[in-house]
């Protein structure tokens, strides 16, 4: 790898700008932060112009604005579209943070803050790599940035925006950094992501809350019932019991599973890093397979009855849960949503009424590894890490990626530089300084090889 003096010289400023962005609490799931979300968008628009964009704007969507910026060096050259998001998850439970969530703090070579990795840190690498290429006169193709502010709350405005702006967003490839790599010595590129189907359920047993002394033993308790229904959604093999749930799952071949199993995995280190006391996966599959190539069902939230201090002898009228299922190819959220709803209604005993409300959903994806863009990414990692990246299936979901394919015809190249231990969505989220700067160094090589390969092909 050749030295990149510009990046070294501006290292402190590259970090200071990221910190300034992180200090804006752009939480998109809570309307109370709406003004901050807009402030983050405006900040980003200004930085894109400073970095060298010809043009940058806030595109109004009815929700949070989408930041669009571009630099067209030559209409005849290929165009790279960069996707990212400037919104973040809520910081709660705030009391579990060691340092304030919106005041980035460096400890042990890592930046601790909400959004440090997801996705402010990873997204801003692209802005700084772009600046580097502009300033060093090495930008080999056109660039468009599309940075949204609703990824953490379901990207509600994005589908309509894509459909309405197909010409504006026209590009030859799409890159983003919103996934992870195996570890700092083992670069990897995400070649697939699970989909998601997220629902809320409400179980009602009575018209009002009642005294558990007077009625207990004669009636249905909606909390006990909800627990029984949730327990019935999985069996002892830790498989989801919803009829038809696995019907469309593409089983990987033994060869594919062997390949995936080559990624280094240390169960003790994984537990130490995640803080879990033990691992548990679907019978017949390893924990890593459980977290990547297998579908899941998790309760993300539950509530009902008296949850305050002390005790209250109540049988509540209702109990609630938020339940999500991670999906793998070729499951579809539409079908899984229907199967879940039907089965959950079926599980309900005669004494309760059940309401199932879909929240957000996303299709599972697999990216082709034979494309020019994928090859360019591989070569970029090879250059900066000195070794070829391992293709890796990721466990999380980026629900809008299938939409890019559908509306813009683009497969996404997922160049994640984060680690699974970065505590995304959790207290003490962090992102390594190594990862931030290694990303800024690797991205220009992607542009370099991509332009080179496209030029070769068109000869």
């Amino acid at each position: 790898m050749q030295p990149m003096p510009y990046i070294d010289q501006h290292r402190e400023r590259f970090l200071a700008e990221l910190f300034e962005l992180i200090r804006i609490p752009s939480v998109s799931t809570d309307k109370a932060y709406q003004a901050e979300v807009r402030r983050a968008a405006e900040f980003l628009r200004e930085r894109l112009l400073e970095a060298g964009a010809d043009h940058a704007e806030l595109c109004e969507t009815g929700g949070n604005p989408i930041v669009f910026g571009q630099k067209i060096v030559d209409p005849a050259k290929p165009t790279v579209l960069v996707y990212g998001h400037y919104d973040v998850q809520p910081a709660d439970p705030v009391e579990l943070w060691e340092t304030p969530p919106f005041e980035p703090t460096v400890r042990n070579g890592k930046i601790f803050a909400r959004g440090a990795c997801d996705d402010k840190g990873q997204m801003y690498m692209h802005v700084k790599a772009f600046e580097y290429m502009v300033r060093s006169g090495t930008l080999p193709c056109n660039v468009k940035f599309m940075i949204e502010g609703e990824e953490e709350s379901g990207s509600a405005a994005l589908p309509a925006f894509l459909r309405a702006n197909q010409a504006k967003l026209r590009a030859d490839t799409l890159i983003l950094s919103d996934t992870s790599m195996i570890d700092n010595d083992t670069p990897s590129i995400s070649t697939g992501l699970r989909g998601i189907c997220y629902l809320q359920v409400e179980v009602t047993a009575a018209a009002r809350d009642l005294h558990s002394g007077i009625y207990g033993g004669a009636v249905y308790n909606p909390i006990n019932t909800l627990c029984q229904m949730i327990a019935a959604l999985k069996n002892h093999a830790n498989r989801v019991t919803i009829p038809g749930f696995y019907d469309d799952v593409v089983e990987l071949s033994t060869q594919e599973r062997t390949q995936l199993a080559q990624a280094p995995f240390d169960a003790q280190a994984y537990m130490a890093e995640s803080g879990f006391y033990a691992l548990q996966s679907e019978e017949g599959y390893s924990p890593i397979e459980g977290a990547t190539i297998r579908p899941t069902l998790d309760v993300n939230g539950i509530w009902g009855g008296y949850t305050g201090e002390g005790s209250k002898t109540v049988i509540p009228a209702k109990a609630y849960a938020k339940i999500s299922m991670r999906l793998v190819p070729n499951q579809t959220p539409e079908k899984i949503n229907q199967l879940f709803t039907d089965y959950f209604q079926h599980l309900a005993p005669p004494g309760v009424r059940v309401k199932v409300t879909p929240h957000h959903s996303g299709q599972p994806i697999v990216t082709p590894m034979e494309s020019v863009a994928y090859k360019a990414a591989e070569m970029a990692y090879q250059t900066t890490f000195g070794k070829a990246p391992i293709p890796q299936r990721g466990g999380g979901s980026i629900p809008i990626i299938p939409l890019f394919k559908e509306v813009l015809g683009l497969d996404a190249i997922m160049m994640g530089f984060g680690l699974d231990s970065d505590a995304l969505h959790s207290p003490n989220e962090n992102y390594g300084l190594f990862n931030y700067f290694r990303g800024i160094e690797t991205i220009p090589y992607f542009y370099h090889y991509y332009a080179q390969l496209v030029a070769k092909l068109s000869k």
Copy 2:
């Protein structure tokens, strides 16, 4: 029944005073209301003096004060000790009240307010019955009032108070109105109450909250696990599965069950009045038996993960529940607490750690029906209702009643005038005007017959 002109003449004032007491939000489970709780105690002390007490005071306990008042007409005569409580349950969920919880409103002949029945309405009947007897010169024996302010939060100060004040509280019988009767045409006296064992459980699977996309499928989710553990606490026959749970239960004879089954019961009316969609009881027992002579297990509250608006893809570190069991003779809360804790720990899979914390508890009780006091109560109901009261086992618990027996040697006569449909602990709690005034009329007859029977016995 002879007319009671004094009560008719002062009807409006008797109601206005109760309303004034109800307007003081004396919620004992929430420390924010501490000043209001004390204001209610002071109000009651003043009313006892006005009604004719020789003496009335607030007894400090470290918690909420106990209101003590007395009138000694003749030390040679028998003494009646009246127990009640002036504290109330929280009003939440406040949005489900049709009229403000602390502004008593009369609709369809019922007073709607928190505490209208439990226990302000039922307790204040004794104060007004006492006033009537004093003013009409018919008080046939000594009276002591002991009205506490922590019944709804576990009566923490009462045991020490009883032990420290045995001479002051010395009496020949104990009466209270904190239970219900079958219906307004079917008077009944409670002859037994279930005990209670109330606990909080905490299930921890990890040291911190984690992203469900990255870890889902590889780890234990504490909410799913808690649901499975709760589901395992009951079987399909709706019996509690805790080993040894039923070992000490005194099974009623067929004759006793036949007698209890004579109380009128209309399942449709019961459901309409409670708002439940269906009834469910332990296999082999009727709903009424399930709610009175059988032990239960109910989850009173559950929480964990993200419970706000929208969605968050989290696997939380912890999940919690509040669980209570109603006990019947001869179960003891000490033993049940231990059996529950052992079994709940046993149910925990290797991936979670479980903490069980006892809240409050109370022994189940059965009152003798051969006592002079019970006979006097029977005669009083016979006089005002024109028919003999049915002995009835109640479902709820008044945990301190066994303590009266243990420390003061007194069996309690439970002259409840409320109805099960009064929505105790629920939104829109209410108490019938009929019940309030019928209570005020019936209580003086109890004193009358009690003094008469004691005098006859001592001849």
